[in-house]
Structure formats: C-alpha cells, structure tokens
Symmetry: C2
Subunit: 401 residues, 2 copies
C-alpha cells in the first residue's frame, strides 16, 4: 500500500470540491450513497426525462394523437435529435440521424461503404477485439455483398488496409479493455489505402471529444444509452459525412427515408441529407426520452469532460494501487492518457464474477465481462472522485481472502 | 337521403347501449367529444401506459439502473411482449418477438424466406398495392440476394406463384382501400407452388381474428401502434413459424440473437426460438409502454371485436349514404364482409385534402391518403356507433358546396 487511505479520502473530497462539473450531478437521479460506475453500460437517469415523457404520453399522444406527428415535431425528431448528438461528436448539423439499434446502423453503414468502394475491393476489415455485434453484422454484410471479412487488431488496421479493402469497421474505445484507438490516424491510413472507415463510437461519445468532421470520418454509429444517458435501449445513431450523402445507398430503404414519404409512391426516391439513413417509423417514446436526456449537455465542453474523465481514472488507479493487495487485480486499461477511454478494466484472475456481485451488494455498481474482467465506467457528468475512492476501498475488501 | 338523421342518431345510441365491448372505451384516454377514427394510424392512449412508464423510468431505470436488465425483466421483454402479441394473431407462445420497425422486420423475413427457397427460385412476389415500405424493402432484399421482384395484385398472387417463386410478401389488409385479403387461401396457394409467404399484419392485427398457426403462415410482421395501441412508433414484431425457426437465417444477426449473448464470443451461434429474430438492444421505454398497452386485451375475444368492427363500418356506410350528397364520395372499401378490414376509405374527387382538414377542425379525426382518399378507421375497442354517425354527419357538411 503506497498511499494512506485517509489521505486519499481527503484528496477525493478536495478534488470534488474543485470540480467545475460537480454541479451537473444534481441533474441526475442518483442517491448520495450510490457509487454508480456503470455509466459505460447504462447511463444514469437525467431529471429532465420523467416529466418530458409524461408530457409526450399524456399531452402529445393522449390529447393531440395523430396530429403530434406534425404539431409536436415527432416526424422530424430523428434529424433533430441527430443534430444534438452530432454536436457532441464533432458533426455539423444535417449529418447524424437517430433511430434503430447500433447493430442495424452498423449494417447500413458497412453495406453502404462497400457500395461506394471501387472495383476489386471486396474486403471488410474488422477490429478483431470488436464488440461482438459489429463483427456478426459485418459478416452478414460481407455475405450479402460478396465480400470477405478480415479481422485484425484495431492498431493493425493501418497496415492491413490495402487495395482489396472496401471498408474498415473499428471501435473508438474497446468495450472490454477501455483502450482508446487512434481515430484520426487510423482514418487517415484507411483513406490512404483508398478505403472507407466506419467508426463505432458506443464507448467514446459523451466521454471524450470526437471530431468526425475534422478527422474526415466517412461513417460512424453509436448507441446513446451509455455516456449519453438516453435510457435502456434508447435509439442509436448514424453519421454519414455530408459529401457522401448523395451516394449513400442504404440496404434498408424504408419509407421514412423517402424524399416524399407521404406521396406513398411505389417507386423509391431517397431523401437528401441525414434522413436518408432513416428506415421505419421511429420509436417516439424512447426517442423523445433521449432528446430530454441530451439537454443536460447544454453548455458542457467535451474538453472539460475529458479532463475530468482522465483525472477520475488516474485517481481510481492510484486508489486501487494503494488499497488492493498486490496481484489481486491488474489493470488492462492503458496507463497512457492518449490510449485510455473513460473506463478502467481490471483483470481479476480469481472469481471475478463473484467479486463484482459482492461489489454490487455493497453498493458499488460496475460490471463483469467474461472471462475475468471487472469494468468500472467513469461518466464525468455525475461520477465523483469520492466514488472512485469508495469503489477501490470496497474492491480491496471484496478481494481480500 | 335514404334514412332520417334522427333515426340514425337514435339507432347509434341503441347500438352503443347494446355493445358488450362499450365499457372498454373507459380504458382509453379519450374525451367524450372526441370522434377519433384514426386508430388505423395511431391507436388511442390506454390508461395503463402513463403509470407503467413512470414506474419504468423512475423505479427501474432511476433506482435499479443496470440491474433492471435482469431484475425488472428488460432482457426478456421482446419475447414476453411477442407472446402477448402472438395471442392476438393466433400464434402459440415462442414464435413472435417484438422489436425494431416493421420495415426492418420485413427485411429479416424476406431475406430469411429467400434463403429457405429451393434451387432456381429467385423471384419475390410483392403485392402491387402494398404499403410502400414493404415494396422498397423487398426490392433491397432482392438486390442483396440476387432475386428479382414481381409486383402483382394481392388477389393475383395465387396465380402468379410458380416454380421460380421464393416468397410472396402480401398485406393482410390494404392500407389505402381497407380491402381484406384471403390469408388462408393465398397462403395455401403459395405453399402449393412450393414457396413461402410473409404476411404484413399492420392493418389487421387487433381489428379482426388472425390465425397464423392454423393457417400455416411461414412469416409475419406487423406494427403495434395502430389497433394494438402501443404508442407512436412502438416496436414492431416478427413471427417465424416454429418449424422454420431452426433454419431461420437472419440477415441482421445482432448480439441479442446470439445463443449466449453475454459470452461476447467472436463467433455467432444463433439462439433457439423467437429470440433468433432479435437484433440489437431493444428500445425498452417504447417496448414496456407497448406491454402496458396490451393489457387492455385481457379477456377480449377477437370474434367479438370483428363482429363490432363490421357492425361499425356497415353502420358508417349507411350513415354516409343517408347524409352525404350523392356523388360527393364513393366507398373504395369492399361492401362484402369477407373482403373488408376495419376501415372505410372514401374516394372524394373534389378537394379530399381540404375536406379532411375541415373534418379534423370539427373534431372528427380521420386521415387523408394521396391522391383523393379519406380514411376512417374503426378501432372496435373504443369507437362508438355514435362516432360513426357523427363522422358521417360532419362529412356531409364538409363536402356541401
């Protein structure tokens, strides 16, 4: 134990006192005793949501009924919410649309990217450590478009991309280790090889700055129920770079993506802009809950979020080192800031599943990923330095023989 | 004018008084003055929804957080809600799964059906009058699987199905005319030709008995926001006949359809049963609102719903004939009961759009479909005979020169 527990607890109090983002915690429904370190799986409930959802149900659906598609702005919600998300991932308005699940959006993006590829390009590169659904969906896209899949480590994508590559599908932050991949560098390398890139932002959006426009990304997808706090299974999103939109050829051309959906034409003419990424009727209750949840970001700067995220994970790693017996856990999250997302993953060789159950029982909510990883997510909008210190302390007790 | 207005108004009162389903109206948020005839587009709000949704947000998300995936039954909601829907469309448990949009489910079903087809079968038959999205998605499925599309009238499907046919995609009730197609007959004819059939139940489920199991249907899809009252854009559903499930080969094999999703395996092994039709994380708020909405069906018999539906549409047609000047409108909905769904569509050659706007202004909510159709939906759980009489009376005033 390299540092004293009292010192670390005092330091946590001081850090929380000096944290400019600390007041944002009050925008969430979180008890004082809750050590919620699972915002990388399901974000906490923003206080804006319940009242907004009640209004949508009782006023917009209950009283206005069908008229709400126009009068309450339901019809344009996917683009409107998409723009709000775009603001958080460095996308100018008109390029992000909200709807469907991440998996469905991966399918749209990968198939559309293959369709943009030049002749002879029949290879889809996927991040070998990817969150599984991306790999499964990419394999389906490959099968339907006559491509083959090649799985390589994300860091190897620049070297692997070549003249056969149509598209690379890469995770910005690895869900298991919390490793942050080099989005600008990989994007540039894939482009240099003449291919397109699809980024999965599930574990980065809302936790650190993402610059889709500035970094020249072609397509991106992500969920909104982690650091964006949209609620369980809230709609995902799709970014299609503006200059690619006129050639974006969706494999799911549902009527919501039609240029004139209410003409009910038997012929398909795609809409311009981000609406081309829509499919069917959006799940309005989930979508408007997400819209309300996104209000919490008004005036928040991602640079400040990132600074706090790194300070939190640094501090947690120090507390773990100080409290947890040597050898009981080992961090698999990179120590280098430039390679770290907003979570800390600890390999726990002995009974990781049971250790996490014990943590949850004691009010420290993280999660467990097979075979032996304890994940602790640090959502900078509401996580306190005191939470980091408590979690490490309880972890030390839980792993004690 | 063949009948007297006072007589019809009195008859409406008598019919409502004798209606065994009349008490169900109280289960919905509908003002006494509301003549809501748009339940074929957006069903009315069931009273169960608001409280349930508030509980999901505040208790399940806000207090239990991530634990609700298991402790509140979120993870299994798609199958649980699917079984409730299955009960209403003649499907034994384990064959219906809720989630995604109708368009996405059409894609799954059509591609899966093509993959089941024998050699040499490369034709997808689609209902030429289909709701547009089905046609657009079928065309995409054809393009990705190397098939061709052939559009024929639904009634011609039995004659058109042949040795090249892989699958026929047919609407049970035509969205524009309200025509009910012969599900058992068309299914049998398509099967006799050695092909599969996908039924779109959007405009029939909840309005009349559907017998998917008994009629040997292969696949079916539908939305839940019309006669099932699930709310705007509530999740759609997919039926895969039990004996086809082991060979159901989804083009959208997201991680939720994996046999062991939390193993996070890089290899895809599909789940058994209806879960194989899942894709990504379900939109829980919309899905559980739907679940609450479906409670209103407990103890309701579809035969009684159908009897009231036909009585309502018969009565509305009589009122229109009695009140509306000859030639101002013409019904395009079949007069024969066996060919009628639960809506009446009136062609209104002169200014149909403006006529519907005037109706809505006067509190009679139907809708308008290009180029000249006024649609009036009769949702038997909450529509009154008095509504039918009022709507016809107001329509007569609105079309008066």
């Amino acid at each position: 134990m390299s540092e004293d527990g009292h010192d670390l607890a005092r330091e946590a109090t001081a850090l929380d006192g000096a944290d400019a983002l600390a007041p944002l915690r009050a925008a969430f429904v979180l008890g004082d005793d809750t050590v919620y370190l699972d915002g990388n799986s399901l974000g906490a409930l923003p206080r804006t949501v319940a009242a907004r959802l009640a209004g949508v149900v009782e006023q917009e659906w209950g009283r206005l009924g069908i008229r709400s598609w126009t009068e309450s702005g339901w019809w344009t919600a996917p683009e409107r919410v998409g723009d709000r998300i775009g603001h958080l991932v460095g996308a100018a308005p008109g390029q992000v649309v909200a709807g469907d699940s991440t998996s469905v959006n991966v399918f749209k993006a990968v198939v559309a990217a293959v369709r943009l590829a030049g002749p002879g390009r029949d290879e889809i590169l996927v991040d070998a450590q990817t969150f599984p659904t991306d790999g499964y969906i990419a394999a389906s896209a490959a099968r339907l478009t006559g491509c083959r899949i090649r799985a390589v480590a994300a860091g190897e994508v620049p070297r692997a991309a070549g003249e056969r590559t149509a598209v690379a599908l890469v995770n910005h932050v690895d869900y298991r280790t919390g490793r942050l991949h080099d989005l600008p560098g990989i994007t540039a390398a894939v482009h240099a090889a003449g291919a397109r890139v699809v980024w999965d932002l599930c574990h980065s959006a809302g936790a650190l700055p993402v610059e889709l426009d500035a970094d020249g990304v072609d397509f991106a997808v992500g969920c909104t129920y982690k650091y964006l706090n949209g609620g369980p299974g809230s709609p995902a999103y799709l970014y299609v770079r503006r200059e690619l939109q006129p050639r974006f050829d969706s494999p799911l051309p549902g009527w919501n993506s039609h240029a004139d959906p209410f003409a009910m034409s038997p012929d398909y003419t795609p809409a311009q802009g981000s609406a081309r990424g829509r499919v069917g009727t959006p799940a309005i209750l989930s979508l408007l809950a997400l819209e309300a949840a996104l209000e919490v970001w008004d005036g928040v700067h991602l640079a400040a979020v990132r600074a706090k995220s790194l300070a939190l994970t640094d501090f947690f790693l120090r507390c773990v080192e100080a409290y947890v017996p040597q050898g009981a856990v080992e961090s698999v999250t990179p120590a280098v800031h430039g390679e770290r997302g907003s979570q800390v993953s600890l390999r726990c060789p002995s009974g990781a599943g049971a250790v996490m159950e014990e943590l949850v029982r004691r009010g420290v909510v993280g999660d467990f990923r097979q075979p032996d990883v304890l994940r602790f997510g640090f959502a900078p909008l509401y996580t306190r330095f005191a939470d980091a210190e408590s979690a490490a302390r309880v972890l030390a007790e839980a792993v004690a023989p």
